[in-house]
């Protein structure tokens, strides 16, 4: 099993963190995982993205030019990654912000109103956690919800219980939405 | 508002919503608007036209030089 995922969006949308939580969850499960950020000028103002590869074998390239999975948080990222998706891949996008709906027919497309759900959970800033919940469903063959929630706690800490609650709620809403949408 | 002569003209595409102009305005005539520009920022706007004394502080403070300030010809009494 080798799966890869691109997470892309604005700098402030927490896409790096989302990728790291998934990589951490994999590591904690004893799987191999790589997390590769885009860095540098891309970051400032423009889009930020990272690539996660999860595998039960040794991972060769941490970088993928034809992602199987993608979480797309804004329009510029959609423009950048839709054409790169592997045929048969799954593209999940934040339908609250992304107005440019994917046109490709050879990929699975999942629209998740991440910001809406996040606000429902208590903070628009937890849109990335909504997407984590979505990924929990999408990669349910790899992770339990518990796996990802534990990794999330390890990553963001549990010092601010209120924030954690919001994040968990967002996660749950995402998981639910994904179940419905897919 | 549109038929009143220009006092403060803000190029909304250049604005980065830093609020420096808002804070510096001695008469509190500026604020951050609800609009959103293509970079995702809410640009500043002049919302108290009459208060504005055209001092130019906002313009000289704006790091983006997104603001122009004009002094309408005054009809002397």
């Amino acid at each position: 099993m080798t799966k890869d995922l691109v997470v892309a969006g604005f700098g402030g949308q927490g896409v790096m963190l989302l990728g790291q939580i998934i990589a951490l969850a994999a590591t904690e499960k004893g799987l191999n995982a790589t997390w590769l950020p885009s860095y540098g000028p891309e970051q400032r103002g423009g889009t930020a993205n990272c690539t996660v590869v999860v595998s039960d074998e040794e991972i060769a390239s941490p970088l993928t030019d034809k992602p199987q999975f993608a979480v797309i948080m804004n329009n510029p990222s959609m423009a950048k990654f839709e054409p790169k998706m592997a045929a048969g891949g799954t593209l999940i996008y934040n339908s609250t912000l992304v107005t440019q709906v994917p046109a490709r027919q050879d990929i699975k497309v999942v629209a998740i109103p991440a910001n809406e759900l996040a606000e429902q959970a208590g903070s628009a800033r937890s849109a990335n956690m909504v997407m984590l919940g979505v990924m929990a469903w999408v990669w349910r063959d790899v992770f339990t919800q518990e796996d990802l929630l534990t990794a999330m706690v390890h990553k963001v800490g549990d010092k601010r219980p209120q924030l954690l609650e919001i994040n968990k709620k967002a996660f749950a809403l995402g998981y639910e939405a994904a179940q419905k949408a897919i | 508002m549109s038929d009143r002569p220009n006092k403060v003209v803000i190029d909304e595409e250049l604005c980065k919503q830093c609020e420096l102009c808002v804070v510096v305005c001695p008469v509190h005539a500026l604020r951050i608007s609800d609009r959103i520009n293509t970079k995702g920022f809410h640009p500043a706007e002049l919302y108290e036209y009459d208060k504005c004394i055209m001092c130019g502080f906002c313009a000289m403070t704006c790091p983006e030089r997104a603001i122009a300030v004009y002094r309408p010809e005054v009809q002397k009494a």
Partner: protein, 248 residues
Amino acid sequence: MKVVYERPKTLEKVTNHYCPGCHHGILHALIAEVLDEMGLAEKAVGVAPVGCAVLAYNYLDIDWIEAPHGRAVAIATGIKLAHPDVLVFTYQGDGDAAAIGLAETMYGAIRGVNVTTFLYNNAIYGMTGGQMAPTTLLGMKTTTSPYGRDAKREGYPLKMAETIALQGGTAFSARTALFNPKMIMETKKRIRQVFELQMKGAGFTFLEVVGTCPTNWGMSPVDATKFAETEMVKTFPLGVYKELKEVE
């Protein structure tokens, strides 16, 4: 209708890459305004640093060269001696001009090279993501002084305007800031003054400008501006430290 303020002609009409509220943008604009007012844009050459201002060449409509990190004054020296009739200035960060480039900057002053250096002092390495600068305040946390700058461990903030003022070839050395309209006007006045001095062949002119780095200070632009006004100036007192009155 009288124009109180319009974007200066020499400031290219593009969105710069600076973070919202960063004072780099103000300093750029002031230089552009003075170049416009003095009619010097055609005769000016800017030397861009390595630092957040590395792309300054995209923002002012004059000739530019991008120098290796810290070497702006050396580059400027070469240009000025090649063409003594052009106005040459360097635009540098505190890391660029006062850490890796300290010797080059000092020798501009020692040699009395007839160029102008603007040092944007934001007490941090902005471009590389918030490491300690020579000018980082005591107690300030940065990614390379994670426990807060401690004089015993990380040394003392370097006072460039004062140190440069001490050198023989310095025609002008001062420290200004940009945290309110008065200081912005003061800074603009000084920019004009140093350009005038350079055109008269006075020697090395140096203007340290206290600025902000909202992003790496972890503050809103408004708070960062306030921090510059209340905290930065304690370590970096504003004022003129050397001023040649007569130019032979």
